[in-house]
Amino acid sequence: MIHPVLAWILLMLLLAVEVLAALLHVGWLAWAAAPVMIVVVALMFMHVAQESPLRRIFAITGLVWIAILLSLGSADFAARHNYPAPQQVIGVR
């Protein structure tokens, strides 16, 4: 097991990468760094690798269900075109 200090240093580096990516408009890098950070936290701080299979299944199930929600749920909005109708607009200058 890697010492948590190394994990912390790695996370700080990744955070720097993320911020730089956003400032330099490298969108995909900001996208890519976040999952890596989450994996690092999960492995190093939450000890997912050492957990019993049961608890890993619980965690993975949560992710799978989020995938269902995001994919099936956003498919509608991606595949639909709304024809906006005029209506009263509130509070905009």
Binding site: L54, T61, G62, W65, I68, L69, L72, G73, A75, D76, F77, A79, R80, N82, P84, Q87, Q88, V89, I90, G91, V92
Partner: protein, 544 residues
């Protein structure tokens, strides 16, 4: 054994261990918590039924015989909110499940007994808050809370009701976590997965939906309350938000919630049919995996509530296809129950009659589901009484029948007393008849286009409405009957033996009612469920 013996004469059990109010309200014993739940959901059931009765009374006349439009809107909102969130969703798991599951597993309690007690307090707190909102000022949004009606155009206490539902949602989550962990961690020695009774499997499947669906509802309700309080939010079409987003989020929970309501029913009926056919469940593994696949696929079909709501037609097509997929496991179950009856030794005690009624009514409910899963016909039938009839066949004809089947089946175990089987059979028959008379006409009304949630209607719909209302009277009598003979049984019923039905399952291997620790010694399981031996001699009565 005398019929008039009092609690003090009984052998020690969870019922007579300590009998102060405090000892009940602070008990972490799953059996006592189950009884707390029994009391609360019975109250909610009769409250919701009273709302339904008033609605049916109002609809006798086309102009509305009883209440104003606003009054009617409040009635059906009350009926829907109370029945869905405070009766159907918790009903079987928190009562029968809470009581029976640890017994079935050969466990002394659930994994987290204090969490279990907390879940009851959350439930009852949420319930009371919502009731307050429903009665104090009233609520007229329907149980679905569609935006923007609920956020900007109603003057009911939406936020308060939402808070109540949110809190009781926590109760669902904690119950689900408790059940799943218990089934994983607290099975008796030798009780492998494929030796688990189907009821335990179905509670597992239900809990999956509790745990993974309810949080999405919670977030949806928060977003709804935000928009209602601050008059701006993500569903607000005036700034480009989309009311359909609310519907997506809402049905992501609320469609699987339908399976929360029916899955435990599948489990109960599998237990009862095997016990009274004296035969192993036909296709046990198929029934088990049908339950589990329903738990998963039920999360993939929510869009079928929105076929005419303005979602993309591509999504609608995908959701229609997936909806047909979820119907397959349900069909498998019906066939397997029939297979179980085949070459059994069938007896007709009250639980069996309720279970057979369940199979019939659920089949009708399921088949009419095909009408509205088909896109072309859904366009005509959705939002009409056809929908109302369809889901009542599943929820009331199916689920409530299953609840009664389980209640009668495990009543001797829970209370230690027998009830009048003859009265049980009479009530089952009345309920079956009354139910069909109430809801079958609504299929016809739906086909003729009568919209749901109408306080008044064109006169050509009157005949079928009157028929339906007449059925409701019979149904009400059917539901009140058990209240009487079961109460009588509580006070004066004959003592139940350890296993009055000679059924398999660990819950029958301890005293009736069980002691606080459930078992004197944790049993070891050596064979699969429903291992019924051939009856001793063809005509011998099994008990009495």
């Amino acid at each position: 054994m005398s019929r008039t013996s009092t609690v003090e004469d009984l052998p020690p059990s969870y019922l007579n261990k300590e009998n102060t109010l405090f000892s009940w309200l602070c008990s972490t014993d799953h059996k006592r918590i189950a009884l707390l739940y029994f009391g609360s959901i019975t109250a909610f059931f009769f409250l919701g039924s009273a709302g339904a009765a008033l609605m049916r009374l109002n609809l006798i006349s086309p102009a509305g015989a009883l209440v104003s439009h606003e009054g009617y809107n409040r009635l059906f909102t009350l009926h829907g909110v109370v029945m869905v969130w405070f009766f159907l969703v918790p009903a079987v798991p928190v009562t029968l499940g809470n009581f029976i599951l640890p017994l079935m597993l050969g466990a002394r309690d659930l994994a987290f007994p204090r969490l279990n007690l907390l879940s009851w307090y959350l439930f009852i707190t949420g319930g009371l808050i919502t009731l307050w909102a429903l009665f104090w000022g009233g609520l007229n949004t329907g149980w679905t809370f569609y935006t923007p009606l609920s956020t900007n155009y109603t003057n009911g206490h939406v936020v308060l009701a939402v808070v109540g539902i949110f809190i009781s949602g926590f109760s669902s989550i904690t119950t689900g976590v408790n059940f799943i962990v218990t089934i994983h961690r607290l099975r008796a020695p030798g009780l492998t997965w494929y030796r688990l009774p189907v009821f335990a499997w179905s509670l597992y499947a239900t809990s999956v939906i509790y745990v993974l669906g309810t949080p999405v509802l919670a977030m949806t309700l928060i977003l709804l309350a935000f928009e209602r309080i601050f008059h701006v939010g993500v569903f607000d079409s005036r700034i480009g938000g989309d009311p359909l987003l609310f519907q997506h989020l809402f049905w992501f929970y609320s469609h699987p919630a339908v399976y929360i309501m029916i899955l435990p029913g599948f489990g109960v009926v599998s237990e009862v049919i095997t016990a009274f056919s004296r035969k192993a469940l036909f296709g046990y593994k198929f029934v088990v995996w049908a339950s589990m696949s329903i738990a998963v696929i039920s999360f993939l079909v929510w869009g079928h509530h929105m076929f005419v709501a303005g979602q993309s037609i591509y999504s609608a097509i995908v959701f229609s296809l997936l909806s047909y997929l979820v119907a397959v496991p349900s069909a498998i179950k019906v066939f397997n129950w029939l297979g179980t009856l085949h070459k059994g030794h069938i007896q007709f005690e009250a639980p069996m009659l309720y279970a057979l009624g369940f199979v019939g009514l659920f089949t009708i409910g399921g088949l009419t589901g095909l009408f509205i899963a088909a896109l072309g016909t859904d366009v005509h039938l959705t939002q009409t009484y056809f929908i109302v009839a369809h889901f009542h066949y599943i929820m009331v004809g199916g689920m409530v029948s299953a609840f009664f089947a389980g209640l009668h089946y495990w009543w001797p175990k829970i209370t230690g007393r027998m009830y009048s089987d003859a009265w049980g059979r009479v009530a089952a028959a009345i309920i079956f008849f009354g139910f069909n008379l109430t809801f079958f006409p609504q299929f016809v009304l739906g086909y003729y286009g009568m919209p749901r949630r109408y306080a008044s209607y064109p006169p050509e719909y009157q005949v079928w409405n009157v028929l339906s209302s007449a059925g409701a009277v019979i149904l009400a009598i059917g539901y009140l009957t058990p209240l009487f003979y079961l109460s009588y049984s509580l006070l004066r019923g004959t003592r139940a033996t350890e296993n009055p039905w000679e059924a398999t399952g660990l819950e029958w291997k301890t005293s009736s009612p069980p002691q606080t620790e459930n078992f004197r010694h944790i049993p070891t399981v050596v064979d699969g469920p429903y291992n019924y031996p051939p009856p001793h001699s063809p005509a011998a009565p099994r008990h009495g």
